[in-house]
């Protein structure tokens, strides 16, 4: 009997939404006083959690994430180095893990029969990282949110818009941001950012 060839793992076949824009993003890098750089964080884990605060499901999930659940707008439980949970709404959260750890089984087991929802949405959003002295200035060309450190501290995240499309915006460091548009907006957002970064390559006109 002929031996069937079996694909052991599909991991090698994966293609991230911004993979084909890699060179474009790298070429747009600006160095110096007004530095700004853009890259994709590919294949992270993103899990949507739905549970009403005060419910048994909410309690179970808060325990299972290992970092709790954020309680109000802007809050992030945990941080970008491990597992983080972003607040999307009073009863909606997004679990993020850059290393791509499979967190679903643990969360699903914890929620069990309680009211709520655990959905793996890892392919839903593209994760783009914008870093550098001028990163906030690039965002300010289009994002309507108040990005001043006074109202947008490190490790805070909100839902807002960039280039007229909805994004999750997460300040991971003083000069670093994670931008998470839905995957189908990747092309649009990356091209908009590359265009917006361009002016910082030349001296400011005063």
């Amino acid at each position: 009997m002929a031996k069937h060839s079996v694909i052991e793992s599909t991991t090698e076949l994966r293609r991230s939404p911004a993979a084909h824009l890699d060179q474009l993003m790298a070429a747009a890098t600006v160095t110096g006083q007004r530095a700004v750089a853009l890259r994709e964080i590919a294949f992270s884990t993103q899990i949507s959690l739905r549970a009403v605060p005060g419910s048994a499901g909410h309690q179970a999930l808060a325990q299972a994430t290992g970092v709790g659940l954020p309680q109000q707008v802007g809050q992030v439980s945990g941080d970008v180095s491990g597992t983080a949970v972003l607040w999307l709404g009073p009863d909606e959260f997004s679990v993020f893990n850059a290393a791509g750890e499979d967190l679903s089984p643990t969360l699903e087991a914890a929620l069990a029969e309680h009211e709520g929802q655990v959905t793996d949405l890892s392919a839903n959003r593209t994760v783009l990282e914008l870093t550098g002295q001028a990163a906030s200035l690039v965002l300010r060309k289009s994002c309507p949110a108040d990005l001043h450190p006074r109202s947008f501290a490190v490790n805070q995240a909100i839902t807002t818009t960039l280039a007229n499309v909805p994004i999750l915006l997460w300040r991971t460091t003083e000069n670093g941001w994670y931008l998470m548009p839905r995957a189908s907006f990747t092309e649009h957002v990356v091209h908009w950012l590359v265009d917006a970064m361009n002016e910082f390559a030349s001296e400011p006109v005063i």
């Binding site: 707008v73 009073p90 909100i158």
Partner: protein, 99 residues
């Protein structure tokens, strides 16, 4: 740009919100008992006041939650914002409410 004070997210640009029509339009207790005219009234007929209007809004680009607002249709000012399911608040004053 006008800021609208989402009950969950605080003040955000109006472009993040969508208007959802008149608030407090109750679904008929027994829709089958309604005449065609009454059903049409429920479905399509809404107030169009000059002044304070109770309206539904949704923070579409934010927390995606619905809430109610009292808005002055003359000045566009939001005079009060309250959660879905809450009673329409009595306005203490009709002076500015928009941030």
């Amino acid at each position: 740009m006008m800021l609208i004070d989402c009950p969950n997210c605080g003040p955000r640009n109006e472009t993040e919100f969508k208007f959802g029509g008149q608030a407090h339009v109750a679904y008929p207790a027994d829709p089958h008992a309604l005449s065609d005219k009454e059903w049409a009234q429920f479905l399509f007929y809404r107030k169009n006041p000059k002044g304070i209007n109770a309206e539904r809004w949704v923070h579409a680009m934010g927390c995606r939650k619905w809430f109610n607002a009292l808005r002055d249709t003359v000045t566009y000012e939001f005079k009060a914002i309250y959660r879905a399911g809450e009673e329409r608040p009595a306005l203490q004053s009709t002076d500015g409410g928009t941030r």
